[in-house]
Symmetry: D2
Subunit: 243 residues, 4 copies
């Protein structure tokens, strides 16, 4: 079942190959007879993670179906070590679905963090932001349909007017319009994605997706998830000079 | 000097490493003494291209500075075999620069090609599309500045109003707003990009960039360019059954 | 069940995710409502392959267990778009398993093709080659065990002699010694591998593995296999000038 | 000039694109006007490294010419994020060059570290290992030439005997035979390689190459080198539970 994210979005684990047991099986190929002594699966997985022996984690893969606003996918697709198949706005008409933040997520520019969010806006100010966002999304989408010469149900409005190419008309849609895609990635690169995107430095909106995926990963590969948390996510890096 | 593309955009070759001669030098490492007999550089490059011996082309790399609308970069960044550093709209304010097609590029949805453009729109219809695009871009950008509580010169409008986080405010901007990025890619993957994006199936706007890059490649690596044209770009694929 | 290759080697399909149906499902995400009209699965897969719309094929992945001589894996691992976990000769002792060609595969250097094989050697000459190969493999392996101070059963030979580090001792083994590895790759890159390695230009030994994998792919994704054969493997490339 | 490694090997920096200044220039594209306040180049580079903002480091690339034993390249080429062009033993005859460790590098299997080296062997035992290695290399190479029907100078030995295909004959050569290759990699992935291979867990022989490259990197990009040392190489990772 899809996990709802940001109200109009979702993440769904469509399929996967392998799991904790398969990672261990792959790792034992390297060690050959040498692993006879090695402890249990959990211990081996923690050992692999601690020593950044990453190749066995690459043997497990997952495939997700995601629905997210374009500005989130712009951050997401910068992760190149994955395979993507996205909805084509050249081929099909985008639906009237936008992301609008909840009032409590509308915040000031952070004073300290140049790329971050500070305190939440007062309710009326937040409401004003929402009004602007809704107004823009609504009107841009109306213009989109007008160019496509169709109504929301997909019916032609005026048979005597031209239908502008979809690839052109879509250029007026704001980046909070929703798109969707299939995403296939191996477990190691997924963990790398999660480390960067379930992190406090990441924008709240993509973090919401990363958090949802974390939950799916925890159920899929519990040992790996635990080792990830201990050795990647919550680990602190002490610089040479600091040591 | 930057090559102008789509009026407000550009492509600039910032730096490169290697060229036709370096490709040949790299290829000769494989062949060792075996190449004594091999013909000239041009001949060897054509041989490599014809036989899809691609690794020597990967030894040459180029770095570009590009300014393009977001909907174009969304297609561009799907090419994962490159390194990108893009302007951050979380960190900085996007300028008021949008892409608006020339009237002659505003076309109908193609009847035959589901993801393509057909005939150009009549002048008034094209003008109407442009009016819609300009109206949307203008008002969305005004709202963007309003949320940021700044004017176009970057001055605070009202010191008593909050400044909304840039990462939030930008979500109202349409995908024809301009962004910019540095792009580093090896020559083989660049040719792969050009084959797909300087092709008739690609959307006109990204094709305009690909065409500009083609010109830069031709001057940079003339032998490789010629071999690319003959064996990749203009080559026809005859299917097994057709043969 | 493992498919035997080169007598002492094998390829085994350990697991896979997706298949023809999943590729189609992924492709339909792009097309959205636009695919209503699209024909059947086979037709869509052929369309995707013909137009090099490769991303849906990347949504399917497979994992193999392979046993092959080192000189074959040296060619194999040049394909970077895969995940590998190999037996570690630093960690464990390599078994006494080598690849020796069948007499009918022992051939002259080709006169026309600098990197290829010509006619088969006469029986006695082939036998002489085999004698040399067997002699070298045997003696090198004996020396390997001598350095490791162990016999073939893994028992210490002389408790008073040192055991040389495995990572050092293995350096005397010839490249026809067998190794093994797990290999995870997406279907598109697998087809790319097969095009290059099930091809007449590839060395016979790696081709034997590629041919075995082709058989597994045919059973796994019959429509994709057929499209691959028609549009990639048996397709002829006509150069621009030739057209 | 080539840096000698392991006596018969070397690493040579053939060419590079970019450097500390170009990394900073690339980073400033992201930050736009936002960097006006940012400190000097060194400070920005340290900031990028500390925060694992890796994309600007990918804008710099280097190309090396390397000569190394095959067992070292087998470890090296597992790093997939690079472009390689290697000497072809199908195309050309491998020279009679092998790697033989210095007596002081010939060590026991470590008792504690399953994949490592322990104390150095006593001189006579080390000499015995060297004798075995030299004997194997010598005889295997003689057999190689015998199959190729040529002497060390490349002259045909007996015009009436067949020349075995080079791709077959080479299969008798041990993995300490030397090969050579060109290697193109971006700076970020180079640092990743160095972190893993200039590390105590890496086999001494590849570490010798990594150390030589470290020296070249230090001269090429001094600020990045320093930041790498402080934040990647000498940094300690404290696990969540340990904190
Ligand atoms: C006309 C046209 C229409 C398109 N329509 C759609 C569409 O409707 N929906 C859609 O989603 N996309 C669409 N695309 C995008 C297309 O599917 C590709 O994503 C894009 O063209 C990049 O191509 P590429 O993958 O070959 O390039 P690159 O990403 O540069 O990859 C080149 C090669 O590198 C390898 N590679 C790169 N990264 C990886 C990795 N992480 N793992 C394994 N191997 C890797 C693969 O072998 C790949 O073939 C379209 C593209 C074109 C040109
Ligand atoms: C908080 C935050 C702020 C950011 N700010 C900016 C910004 O201002 N501007 C900006 O442009 N980006 C920004 N990014 C994006 C960032 O620079 C990365 O592009 C993105 O996080 C993907 O990370 P990655 O490259 O490690 O992942 P992946 O692309 O998945 O790569 C993982 C690893 O694979 C290897 N790799 C993948 N593809 C290639 C290839 N083609 N060639 C060689 N090696 C490859 C590399 O070793 C890489 O480290 C930001 C990211 C975060 C999390
Ligand atoms: C001390 C030591 C011991 C080792 N022991 C073993 C062993 O016993 N057995 C064994 O098999 N290996 C072993 N290795 C090799 C190791 O598993 C890695 O294969 C190797 O170090 C390369 O590391 P990498 O994958 O991080 O680097 P790269 O291949 O350069 O990859 C860097 C990053 O790029 C991304 N990436 C690159 N290619 C792809 C791709 N095709 N698809 C998706 N993402 C990609 C990933 O994010 C990856 O983390 C050992 C390595 C070391 C240093
Ligand atoms: C008959 C034959 C003869 C050969 N002779 C030689 C020889 O003499 N010398 C020699 O060195 N090699 C030789 N090769 C190997 C060849 O050059 C390739 O390295 C090998 O075939 C792998 O092919 P590939 O790079 O297309 O595959 P992959 O590594 O799987 O790459 C597929 C695609 O992914 C992308 N990609 C993958 N990794 C990266 C990366 N790190 N950065 C950017 N893009 C990436 C590229 O677009 C690439 O085209 C030979 C191969 C064949 C089949």
């Amino acid at each position: 079942a899809p996990v709802p994210v940001l109200e109009t979005g979702f993440v769904r684990l469509v399929d996967y190959m392998g799991g904790d047991a398969a990672i261990v099986q792959g790792a034992r190929v390297s060690y050959g007879k040498g692993t006879r002594s090695t402890s249990d699966d959990r211990g081996l997985i923690r050992y692999l993670m601690r020593n950044r022996h990453t190749s066995p984690f690459e043997l497990a893969v997952a495939k997700f179906h995601v629905r997210a606003p374009i500005f989130v996918t712009r951050q997401w697709f910068r992760h190149r070590t994955a395979s993507i198949n996205e909805y084509s706005a050249r081929y099909s008409v985008l639906e009237k679905e936008f992301y609008f933040p909840r009032p409590e997520d509308i915040a000031r520019q952070s004073a300290s963090n140049k790329q971050g969010r500070g305190e939440t806006l007062p309710p009326e100010a937040a409401q004003h932001v929402l009004d602007l966002l809704r107004e823009d999304a609504g009107r841009c989408y109306d213009h989109y349909l007008e160019m496509l010469n169709q109504d929301e149900a997909g019916n032609v409005i005026d048979p005597d007017r031209p239908v502008v190419a979809r690839e052109l008309a879509r250029m007026t849609l704001p980046v909070n319009v929703m798109t969707q895609f299939y995403w296939q990635i191996n477990l190691w690169n997924l963990l790398h994605f999660l480390r960067l995107r379930a992190d406090a430095h990441a924008q709240y909106e993509i973090r919401a997706y990363a958090d949802a995926i974390l939950g799916l990963v925890e159920r899929w590969v519990p040992h790996t998830f635990e080792a990830f948390r201990d050795y990647m996510q919550e680990a602190a890096l002490l610089s040479g000079p600091a040591l």
